[in-house]
């Protein structure tokens, strides 16, 4: 995609995005659901042997120094990056234009840049029961020692492919395909009813 100087993109969640508190409040609201709506979501992929150069390029563009190793990641609250497969990374930024910025530093000899700013929807789940609700969906160990802050995972829920980054002790950002986002969102709300949730 070219850089955006255009109307605000529509959220795929819109008709099902009901701001307010829902579900069982026996123990208060234990889940906060939001759509983070980053301005840019980019996928980077390095050719075998070029991973370190790509990690350096990520640092150049975002200032985030990734740890070496699969699944590692970082988030500074504005920009986020995590590895989701060998040599492959998802990068998100509140600002637009990330793909164009990477296109300047990720040369064809290092790897490829794919703009997914429209193609992925970022949903944030936070709160003391975030691990509990996510465990209903994914066969992933969400405990902090097994899934440290900043780290990312690729997985699926039924037919919905998802990338998940832990962006806080009890906070996760989930990237799903836009076309599945509303369906996934509804399922997430449904699963959160048990513990009480608030949509912000």
């Amino acid at each position: 995609m070219v850089e955006r100087q255009s109307p605000e993109p529509l959220s795929p969640l819109e008709p099902e995005f009901h701001v307010g508190s829902h579900g069982n409040f026996e123990h208060g609201v234990e889940i906060i659901l939001t759509e983070t709506r980053p301005g840019s979501i980019v996928q980077l992929a390095a050719w075998p042997g070029e991973e370190k150069k790509l990690i350096a390029a990520i640092r150049t563009v975002t200032g985030l120094a990734l740890p070496d190793g699969a699944g590692g990641g970082l988030s500074d609250g504005v920009k986020s990056v995590f590895g989701f497969a060998p040599g492959k990374f998802t990068v998100a930024d509140e600002a637009e234009g990330l793909a164009a910025a990477f296109a300047k530093v990720v040369t064809p000899a290092i790897g490829t840049v794919t703009d997914l700013s429209h193609g992925r929807t970022a949903i944030r789940i936070a709160g003391p029961k975030a691990e509990w609700v996510l465990a209903k969906f994914f066969a992933i160990d969400f405990a902090l020692p097994a899934f440290p802050t900043g780290a990312g995972r690729s997985t699926t829920h039924h037919d919905v492919f998802a990338q998940i980054q832990r962006t806080g002790a009890d906070q996760f950002d989930i990237y799903v395909f836009r076309s599945f986002a509303r369906s996934f969102w509804k399922a997430l709300c449904h699963a959160s009813e048990e513990v009480g949730y608030e949509v912000q």
Binding site: R4, W47, P108, T114, L116, H118, A146, H158, E194
Partner: protein
């Protein structure tokens, strides 16, 4: 307080009264009661009717192994049958009914079956319905005649057909140590593992943790065992690294230490709280497992052992100590081991009169004699129960001297008046999960039981599960197991001190008392000792065959109480020792599992919905949506009063006359990037892509490796190393897998990345004679004239401030353009195009019109690329490059794939001007009454507004050569027969003049 309820004791809360009904009668119980204990407290002795003979049955046990007291629980219109009353926690408003009886539990007409004992023995169905001839009825026909009556008379509860409104959930869990069972061994294991810092899960099928500590009346460290259990549980509950799962049955042990469990979350509540599931299925991945599942007490097999009032000894002890309920007032015991004596003392303490203890062993230890004396019970050593008396409740029993060395009964029988007979035939460790996990159980002659096999997966046993029946052993083994499971080293430690009633854990090797009368082995399936011997006489020597012929151990309780006695009787009949006869392998589930919990939240259509960026616009503008795989697409935008056919005909006609716009966002889109992207596409497609100029698109065809057609679509070259591949909607995932497979496995040396970008782009295809004018009216930043945007050209511009990519290509056969924008801007661009099109008569059209126009053009889709057709069959052989190899090129010229009689794509015109149906056959013979000799079939059909005819695409043998000839369509299922003309598949504008402009 009821006559059977003690004033004190047990875990129940006497201050809280619960009201429920059983078979329409109102009862009360207390919080903490099971349905079984609450009814027992009210003096209820009759709980169910047996499977085959409809014999009256009472409570045999107090736990999950209960075979007799199965009930149906009603919640509104929903009925759940076959739940052991021992596992139903009462709550206000509980409605339970008995089952397998008519008209009532007390007066069951099918009790007449008891008179047909010989006929209804093992193998009844085989002998009755596969053998003799009764007049005109024999074999299957006789079965069909009898089936209705048999199904009414035999069986368990009946399932309902009402939709279950309850919610079910699923949970994935990971832990270092899963402890199954929360008796002293399990609690100690969980504590020891947690102390090591391990992440621990503790699951128990009972609502209260503690297992035997809840009812044993032993002391641990000077306090009642139940108090020790409460303290230990409280400690565990306060730790962050422990998850406690009460009411959770671990029912399956699978590979890689994956275990399945069912948590009964809200069955015990009047109403679940909002969002709370009824059941929750846990998929648990445990690094290590501690199996502390305890043991089941075995019944003894003797005549009348199923009469209501005959109960397992430990069950009575549980009812007395855990629920404060006495199962009878005059209680007798019959045992082959020491454990029953503890029950005698407990019941005496609870207020019952223990009138007799019959023990098959001639010599009893001084400790047992002391316990019997404490219970004020008369001892009958070397005696056996040979009969019971009473109807729907026990009134007495008969004892006779018994020689356990040869099973002989000696002398005269002696009657004893009792309203409850407790029996104990020894204990069988609950090895089900270990058996599921792998190896074969091993017989232990001393314990007269199958003990757990050597672990095949990462589990450790502890307590009664291993055959260590004392609490002290359980605590020691639990600690060792917990530490080992957590990966720690066990060091000497001061263990809790247990004070327990003494006893020898080894029973006498007596399973059956052979006397006159029906002696039941499997209570739930009405299998008697004589059935087992009959099976042996009829040649069934394998334990697996025995099981299937007699149905021993095949009911919902899966033989928890019957397996070992059944095997022992079989072994005796065979004259072999039990280990030589062996045992059957336990399989999941350990206890019945609700289907709802397995489906969990995945119900209804079972699939998530996949929506295009313009979905809400379509709905708001009158579209009838159509499910296409996971996608939802507009079928038509119908006007008031229009039929589907009228709508699509209008839409297609308007498109050909002016312009139409359709949402094509669902097309698969794959970014193919990298220095070798062009070379890769040359290998993937049958035609050349490396020669494609940047800013141009090309139609491509892919074959499978076997040479058959796979998928088609256009691929756009956006840069030297940057391609945007489009696929059919249906095959997007398959094509992606196909590409990834070849890149990962076959050509890893190619520097190519493929990424699904289907969701990145919204796509709108606008076609028709006025399409270019509409674009020109709303696109800025680029010209869209023929020079700037020739056929298969690509330009970038803006529509209403949104960046767009426009490619001139056509599926409808009209001058057409695909407009791609970022998905979040899809609706914005769509609305701008629709607005710009208004002065030109632009219509929105759906899949039906899209399909109509592609049929008119003779374009293929998945209906023709059906996995059986080749490029030549579809007249796409012009796309098979001779300059390069490609996937499928080595196999596409096989003899069978180039035969002249293959099915080839043709067009059909209905000469009777009646509609076609997809799948209808094409025949040459004019014989409507006997259609035969199919030469092909219809793949797609429509009414063509352009031709004014009903037309179809079809695959017909040697189709191309048949063009211009006539045949018949034959569709007997839909009563359609009529003449057709076989023509070219290119019905409309065959030279493409409209498309090229």
């Amino acid at each position: 307080m009821s006559p059977r309820r003690a004033d004190t004791g047990g875990r129940i809360d006497r201050l809280k009264t619960i009201r429920f009904t059983f078979d329409g009668t109102a009862y009360t119980g207390h919080a903490g009661d099971t349905l079984a204990s609450a009814l027992l407290a009210k003096g209820v002795t009759l709980y169910g009717r047996s499977f085959k003979y409809h014999r009256p049955r009472g409570l045999l046990t107090a736990g999950v192994e209960e075979p007799n007291a199965l009930v149906t629980v009603l919640k509104g219109e929903v009925r759940e049958p076959n739940i052991p009353a021992t596992m139903v926690e009462i709550h206000d408003g509980l409605v339970a009914i008995s089952q397998n009886r008519f008209p009532s539990l007390a007066w069951d007409i099918n009790a007449v079956n008891q008179l047909g004992g010989k006929i209804l023995s093992a193998g009844f169905y085989y002998k009755t319905f596969m053998g003799p001839v009764f007049g005109p009825l024999k074999g299957t026909r006789f079965w069909m005649f009898c089936e209705h009556f048999i199904r009414r008379a035999a069986g368990l509860g009946s399932a309902g057909s009402a939709k279950d409104p309850a919610r079910y959930g699923r949970m994935n869990a990971f832990c270092d140590v899963l402890v199954v069972g929360s008796g002293p061994a399990g609690l100690m294991a969980a504590k020891a593992a947690a102390d090591q810092g391990a992440r621990v899960m503790l699951a128990d099928l009972e609502p209260l943790f503690g297992g035997s500590a809840n009812w044993s009346e032993e002391t641990i460290d000077g306090a009642p065992a139940a108090d020790w259990a409460r303290r230990t549980v409280a400690q565990l509950a306060g730790r962050d690294n422990v998850r406690l799962l009460p009411r959770t049955t671990v029912w399956g042990y699978y590979d890689n230490n994956t275990l399945a469990a069912l948590e009964r979350v809200s069955d015990h509540k009047d109403q679940p709280v909002k969002g709370e599931p009824r059941h929750r299925y846990w998929a648990i991945r445990a690094k290590s497992v501690v199996l502390a599942t305890g043991a089941f007490e075995r019944p003894l097999v003797f005549p009348g052992n199923d009469r209501p009032g005959v109960m397992l000894a430990h069950a009575a002890e549980r009812y007395a100590n855990e629920f404060g309920v006495l199962p009878g007032e005059r209680i007798a015991l019959f045992t082959n081991n020491d454990s029953a004596y503890r029950a005698a003392v407990a019941l005496k303490k609870a207020g019952a009169a223990v009138v007799a203890i019959a023990d098959v062993r001639p010599e009893l230890s001084p400790e047992m004699r002391k316990l019997a004396s404490e219970a004020e019970a008369e001892i009958f050593a070397g005696h056996a129960v040979v009969a019971t008396e009473g109807g729907k409740a026990l009134s007495g029993l008969k004892l006779q001297r018994f020689d356990m060395t040869n099973g002989a009964l000696i002398g005269d029988a002696r009657s004893i008046h009792a309203d409850c007979l407790l029996m104990s035939g020894g204990w069988s460790p609950t090895i089900h999960l270990a058996s599921q996990a792998g190896a074969k159980a091993e017989w232990n002659a001393a314990r007269q039981a199958f003990l757990p096999p050597k672990p095949a997966q990462s589990w450790i046993g502890a307590g009664a599960f291993t055959g260590s029946f004392s609490t002290a052993e359980a605590i020691a083994e639990g600690r060792t197991a917990g530490i080992a499971a957590a990966g720690g080293q066990s060091t000497p430690s001061v263990l809790p001190v247990v004070e327990a009633v003494p006893g020898d854990p080894d029973p006498a090797p007596v399973f059956e008392i052979r006397a006159k009368g029906k002696s039941f082995v499997d209570f739930q399936h009405d299998v008697t000792a004589e059935d087992v011997r009959l099976a042996h006489r009829e040649g069934f020597v394998s334990v697996e065959h025995l099981k299937r012929y007699t149905t021993l151990g095949m009911a919902t309780d899966q033989g928890k109480s019957s397996n070992v006695p059944g095997l022992a009787i079989m072994a005796e009949a065979l004259g072999k020792p039990i280990p030589e006869v062996g045992t059957t392998r336990f399989r999941p589930p350990f206890a019945p599992v609700s289907i709802g919990s397995l489906a969990a939240e995945r119900f209804g259509d079972l699939k998530p919905e996949r929506l295009t960026p313009m979905h809400d616009w379509h709905l708001a503008n009158g579209a009838t949506m159509y499910s296409a795989g996971l996608w939802y697409r507009p079928m038509i935008y119908g006007h008031a009063g229009e039929t589907v056919e009228q709508a699509y005909v209008r839409e297609a006609k308007a498109t050909r006359e002016s312009a139409g716009i359709v949402d094509v966002s669902t097309l698969g889109k794959i970014a193919v990037q990298g220095p070798d992207a062009a070379a890769f596409l040359d290998r993937v497609y049958t035609n050349m892509f490396s020669t494609l100029a940047v800013g141009k698109a090309r139609y491509g065809l892919m074959l499978r490796e076997d040479g058959l057609a796979f998928d088609d679509g256009t691929t756009w070259r956006l840069g030297e190393q940057d391609f945007l591949m489009t696929t059919t909607t249906a095959n997007a995932g398959k094509v992606m897998q196909h590409l990834e497979y070849f890149l990962d496995v076959i050509w890893p040396e190619l520097k190519v990345h493929v990424t699904s970008v289907t969701d990145e782009w919204a796509g709108a295809a606008i076609g028709g004679p006025k399409a270019r004018q509409i674009l020109a009216a709303c696109v800025t930043g680029t010209s869209v004239d023929n020079a700037a945007l020739p056929f298969m050209g690509i330009v970038r511009g803006e529509i209403s401030g949104v960046p767009v990519m426009i490619c001139r290509l056509s599926f409808s056969g009209e001058m057409a353009f695909e407009v791609y924008s970022g998905a979040g801007h899809g609706t914005h661009v769509w609305e701008a195009l629709v607005e710009a099109g208004k002065p030109f008569g632009l219509v929105t059209y759906g899949l039906e019109a899209l399909g109509t126009m592609r049929i008119e053009k003779g374009h293929v889709t998945g209906a023709e690329i059906d996995g059986r057709t080749t490029a030549r069959d579809l007249h796409l052989d012009w796309m098979l490059s001779k300059k390069k190899p490609f996937i499928g090129s080595a196999m596409m010229d096989r003899e069978g794939l180039i035969a002249s009689d293959r099915l080839e794509l043709v067009g059909l015109i209905a000469l009777d001007n009646r509609p076609f149906n997809g799948g209808a056959h094409i025949v040459e013979e004019v014989d409507e009454a006997n259609p035969h000799g199919s030469i092909g079939h219809i793949t797609a059909c429509c009414y063509s507004p352009a031709l004014g005819r009903h037309i179809a695409l079809a695959l017909v043998k040697g189709g191309k050569a048949r063009q211009g000839t006539r045949a018949h369509v034959s569709d007997p299922l839909r009563n359609r027969f009529g003449p057709v003309e076989i023509v070219s598949n290119h019905f409309f504008d065959p030279d493409g003049s409209r498309m090229h402009g």
